[in-house]
Symmetry: D2
Amino acid sequence: MIVVMQAGAEEALIDAVLERLEEHSLRGHLVRGEERTVIGVVGAAIPPTLKEELAHFGGVQETLRITQPYKLVSRELRAEDTVVDVRGVKVGAGSCVVIAGPCSVESEEQIMTTARAVREAGATMLRGGAFKPRSSPYTFRGMGEAGLKLLAQAREETGLSIVTEVMTPNDVDLVARYADVLQIGARNMQNYQLLEEVGRTGMPVLLKRGLSATIEEWLLSAEYVAAQGNPNVILCERGIRTFETATRNTLDLNAVALAKRRTHLPVLVDPSHGTGKWYLVPNMALAGIAAGADGVIIEVHPDPDRARSDGAQSLSCENFAALMPKIAAVAAAVGRQM
Amino acid sequence: MIVVMQAGAEEALIDAVLERLEEHSLRGHLVRGEERTVIGVVGAAIPPTLKEELAHFGGVQETLRITQPYKLVSRELRAEDTVVDVRGVKVGAGSCVVIAGPCSVESEEQIMTTARAVREAGATMLRGGAFKPRSSPYTFRGMGEAGLKLLAQAREETGLSIVTEVMTPNDVDLVARYADVLQIGARNMQNYQLLEEVGRTGMPVLLKRGLSATIEEWLLSAEYVAAQGNPNVILCERGIRTFETATRNTLDLNAVALAKRRTHLPVLVDPSHGTGKWYLVPNMALAGIAAGADGVIIEVHPDPDRARSDGAQSLSCENFAALMPKIAAVAAAVGRQM
Amino acid sequence: MIVVMQAGAEEALIDAVLERLEEHSLRGHLVRGEERTVIGVVGAAIPPTLKEELAHFGGVQETLRITQPYKLVSRELRAEDTVVDVRGVKVGAGSCVVIAGPCSVESEEQIMTTARAVREAGATMLRGGAFKPRSSPYTFRGMGEAGLKLLAQAREETGLSIVTEVMTPNDVDLVARYADVLQIGARNMQNYQLLEEVGRTGMPVLLKRGLSATIEEWLLSAEYVAAQGNPNVILCERGIRTFETATRNTLDLNAVALAKRRTHLPVLVDPSHGTGKWYLVPNMALAGIAAGADGVIIEVHPDPDRARSDGAQSLSCENFAALMPKIAAVAAAVGRQM
Amino acid sequence: MIVVMQAGAEEALIDAVLERLEEHSLRGHLVRGEERTVIGVVGAAIPPTLKEELAHFGGVQETLRITQPYKLVSRELRAEDTVVDVRGVKVGAGSCVVIAGPCSVESEEQIMTTARAVREAGATMLRGGAFKPRSSPYTFRGMGEAGLKLLAQAREETGLSIVTEVMTPNDVDLVARYADVLQIGARNMQNYQLLEEVGRTGMPVLLKRGLSATIEEWLLSAEYVAAQGNPNVILCERGIRTFETATRNTLDLNAVALAKRRTHLPVLVDPSHGTGKWYLVPNMALAGIAAGADGVIIEVHPDPDRARSDGAQSLSCENFAALMPKIAAVAAAVGRQM
């Protein structure tokens, strides 16, 4: 950490900083410039709160952190890629994973039809929500356990692993009984009790980036899961909120490329939420893979016009099937297999 | 709702929209322009999902909502201001409420010193966190129930009502035993199970706006609480996330002025989180009141340099005491009493 | 256009709107719902200002536009792709164009070395700034005409066409004497006199998207050029400003995919400015092409460590050469040629 | 400046940085921590480009600037407030300046009526646009010189000084012949030739903050004017672009409070553009003054319903007259005079 003193800060103020560092068993290394003095902080263990603690000391202009606040998920700690094994499907092992399915489970017919179609087209896992976070209390919020049972039934028949969202700590046990991957939605990226609860299960966790979360905050949320002894975290970029309203969100593929450098965890892309428009999904799925993602998660519905949620961003089964060979072609072009 | 057809959309596509409307017992009213046809949707109860349902019908260019999706909290439903009564303190009744206290409860001495000081200076309630959401799993996360007990002790001595955060549904009962106002933090603004759980208590709820929540989403979250039969919601603007990094957040006072028009609920301002810098807090507290807020919530710490969290944005007791007469002056200038 | 009246708006207020429409030779078509009345505006020519004009009429809740405000650049006007011919290089004709070169022209040796290297690697045009917009008045602002002469010399030797920025109307004639494509930088996207001036030249114009410009505003700026009778506009997405600071900007590839639907103009991607980090440039160049761009513009410098500007986001000549086959592979995968 | 080396960076890489510093006649001061080495850069004149130059040296993790890049406009250079004298009206001298008038000059009757009304109500200057930047090429773009003549006529009769926008360097002479204050609009905040041209006039300049400009960039643009020997810069916050669409822009009053600390220049607030809604203007004007602004600039039109631009955010003359006593009351409450 670096403490930058104000121009002309008195010695007594510098000493006060040095004393506080000593209280923490740290040393301050002075760099005296023409205008101002800078203090480099040296020591074994810098407390995470020290930066803000010193920021408003008398005579301090600002404090700058020079290491990243996450550890377990950092590439500095572990250089090789983490591979998350989902019942035999390896996520992060160089191949391109395709998770597909409806936003919400709506009926047996709907989920079974979709599962068969995406299986047929080559998808490697099935997504579908039984518990849905919705901005309004008056909209459809999912089928609950009945939806989970239908997902399990779809797995039984198709062999596809199940990715489904859990919204609150109390539901983790229930959802974990049916799911293969526990999804944490964007709104819950900083629901820390929930992160710890899914961390304790040891199961694969798909962690979506929050709507306005920085990449650093996203990795810190992954750190919450990992700190419970669960290394099986799959990150998922799903679009951030910006000033642009022509698309539902702004899919941030920079974040994919950067996250792959900063962390050893696998990273997926969700072009359905990332764009909000079904007709942009194919191009952005391809772009995500070209940007370095380990796969994509795509909303597919047998009849998007009648979907109870997210119809506008869902591909029909036909459009999904048409996209799959293109995904394979781009994946091959960047050295990935399906 | 309005359905805008694409230029030159065929009659069959228009008919398909009309048929779907009939399935929902709605009527479509055609407006045929030079270039395109627009369909006005008329009927008693437009389903909340209809907008997205029709958005990707063949030939549809876009769908536009023309009513607001919240009901109970809307000024259209109830024109007069809601007044939330917190053990005799009326929030929203034209006076200017001042809630003050530390970010976190850290010790008996710290909270008692602060409580006495802010009481002395004229604050009407005490804030303090016992459960703290933190981006990193490695930072101080609050004293838990021991902190709640200290808050209750401070109320006992000073008579100040207690505002404290609850982070997860399972903690609502516990926190409700000690608190007078249940605070929902910005990260939890869309934690719907939590909103419903605090809704069921019937207690006053302080609902902070999420970091990237629109005003509409904020009011929808208030609607979640109100829909449980709890009208005692106090909104709190605490800064949004923008591109500007010179301040921690961007305090959005437009949102205060606009929310006061759209809803009958009281609205407070949190200039501490809204700026992240203690030296900006006084000016922005005054600005918040001038913008029309029903009060302010301010972080105060007896020794900000040693605060375990948010020291950089906390006023010392002396600075808080110096601010209070200025608040009174601006409040008086805009016709509010302390 | 749609005029939405407030719930319970009186007939006199509705009549006032209708009268104003008549003043503009328009008709209002009433749609009376349960709660409120909506007026569909019908007529040959709706004035562009009518939306804001009516927005604050008594009893009006809001006004909604249902057509796009740009005409000449719209796909509705012209379905087939515009191809911009730059001395024989066809931009927008299905191939993948690669423009490469340094941020600034710094010396004869620097630009000639770069030009030869990128030509060798397969680039189709040379970029380089002679006039540089810089946030600070104290930084290097380009070589001016001397830089333009060096660019012309590089064209002479390598045959590469020249893309270079013009910053102010008075310089258009000068820059046009040397350049093949006039670049409008992000800061000048809404410098309307400049847009009209480059419009009048009839030359190819590379129009970068502004840092916080919506896609609609970007297309409207293209419309300014086109309205001068110059259809040769090449759009360029170069990253928008968001809350994320880990990358210099957020490259918005959604915008590429969407712009390709809304306009017939070619669209390029600038991953150098879009990320600000050279090590993210290759992945994001590939992602841009997969998203549907007609090509990329990449900063290349023979010695990025000593670049006078943008070194951190420039590829070395070696890294650029290594990227080119990957671009070719992804381009082929999405059906484009180099 | 601080250079942070990567964990475990080899000595040769550190030496390379030190050598480059020597080339610039600077010294590097090593701070060796447990994990990594940090280099404090010491010397008389650090080149502005050094930060980005070193950022991508081998072994360098990042470079951090510790001083602000603007000089002339900084409070560090000059502690006392700059007072800009506009024909006897002192801006920045502790009083509260009120500039009022229409968005555009539309006719003699319109501007004279407005000028008399705002003069009567107590405004200290008249605003009005003769050259208007508009997103669309098809909307009203101002009366040009005829508008300037009407403004001069209004000054003649009312004695009010004139604030009007200049959009392009070539128009500076013309506009300067009529105006008392040259306004630089938000879209032109980084039009550097224009900034320098108005700098050379020596006249008072009203510099609006760009839609997505950081506070630092805003002050750097002021530095461009000041660097031409013109200290008469008045800053104006007018709302930034964020994700929120319920208001036209997000008026950033944090920026006002912070700018007043960082610079000695006066700062105004424009609640008309800052909100886009006339009914929010009064509250936000008051909030701006409470936040510490030296005054406000407000759009007023005798018949907002028929304004050719910005009607939705213009106050009627009556509403403006009603606001003035409230402004006086809040100004008095924060120790300012009218």
